[in-house]
């Protein structure tokens, strides 16, 4: 996450990929999915971002920023609600 905060999204994605393949608590996994969604949002890959946000919320409904981001993305890309 420190790499992500520095703006090195490619390295952050690879780190998240390796982490997702490890034994990790499903609750922690929701935060990883949320962070991956943030990266795709920053890269302009809105459809991918929506997928990650949706899965993150399935695991952890207490992510209000994910809801907010999903609404903004749906409004931005003129997609129908999921």
């Amino acid at each position: 996450m420190s790499v992500q905060s520095e703006g090195n999204y490619a390295e952050a994605l690879q780190n998240y990929y390796e982490t997702m393949r490890q034994k990790i608590d499903p609750y922690d996994r929701s935060y990883i999915l949320y962070n991956i969604g943030l990266i795709h949002t920053s890269n302009g890959e809105h459809t991918k971002a929506l997928k990650y946000y949706f899965r993150a919320l399935e695991r952890n409904p207490f992510l209000p920023q994910a809801f907010n981001n999903m609404i903004v993305l749906c409004h931005y890309v003129r997609l129908s609600p999921l």
Binding site: A10, Q22, K23, D28, N35, I36, R55, L63, P64
Partner: protein, 257 residues
């Protein structure tokens, strides 16, 4: 369908005042070419029939060839090899293990496979070794979807690559340890945009309780007896004392000599 054309009688039968008929060698009607068939003079009738040209024959042959090619493609698609079936079985086994041991649903596996190494893509592009025909991450995800639906993926290269990637998933056989609820480091470090404590106060609910669980005491987490833990500390602390006593004894021994 035959077209008939009636010709006028010979000039000897007609009077000089009647106009004479002059016909062309071929007649075109509605864009269809007709070939003239001449009969005996007694009937004074010429029949025109549509001709079967080379283009029609070529079209018919080409359609047959296309049909044969399609049949061949269908045969190839409908006949998975034993290796393909083995790949599919392997992938299904890995999916089952992930669901059972790590509580990882299919959607999460898909999203994990979808993660692409942007650095590798950029490196290949710069080196000029970009493989346009190779399977992409989207192809792997599509293959995974087909397997989940009970189908055999048509893209064999993607199937093989997917099987190899899932087989390299680390520690598949190990189950997720059942630990006590504790404060999540990810929850602590991730900025979700809202302060959980403030939100909980405003909404008067137990907001994101897992993130607020206090850390366990150090005493509870210690797995070795205290003697072993403090023994090393005592040993390190005793070194100066031992050295001091040794020096005193050496000096005393020298003074006696």
């Amino acid at each position: 369908m035959a077209w008939s054309l009636t010709l006028p009688p010979p000039p000897s039968l007609s009077s000089s005042s009647l106009p004479t008929f002059h016909h062309h060698p071929s007649v075109f009607c509605t864009g269809v070419a007709f070939t003239r068939l001449r009969h005996r003079r007694t009937s004074n009738t010429i029949f025109l029939v549509p001709s079967v040209g080379k283009e029609d024959t070529d079209l018919r042959v080409s359609s047959l060839q296309e049909q044969q090619l399609d049949d061949g493609d269908d045969d190839n698609d409908e006949e998975p090899t034993p290796q393909d079936l083995e790949y599919v079985a392997q992938i299904k086994r890995v999916l089952e293990l992930l669901r059972k041991n790590r509580d990882m649903i299919f959607g999460e596996v898909k999203l994990t496979i979808m993660i692409e190494d942007a650095r590798e893509v950029e490196r290949r592009r710069l080196l000029g070794i970009e493989d346009l025909d190779g399977p992409t991450r989207e192809d792997l995800v599509d293959a995974l979807d087909e397997i989940n639906e009970g189908k055999i993926p048509k893209d064999r290269a993607a199937l093989q690559m997917l099987a190899e990637e899932l087989a390299s998933w680390p520690n598949l056989e190990d189950a997720l340890p059942k630990k006590k609820p504790s404060k999540s480091l990810y929850a602590k470090a991730t900025d979700t945009g809202i302060d959980p404590e403030l939100a909980a106060k405003k909404l008067n609910i137990d907001w994101d309780s897992a993130a607020e669980i206090e850390e366990q005491n150090a005493d509870d987490e210690t797995e070795v007896p205290p003697v072993v833990g403090y023994g090393a500390l005592y040993l390190v602390s005793a070194f100066p004392i031992i050295i001091g006593i040794s020096v005193v004894l050496i000096l005393f021994y020298n003074s006696l000599q």
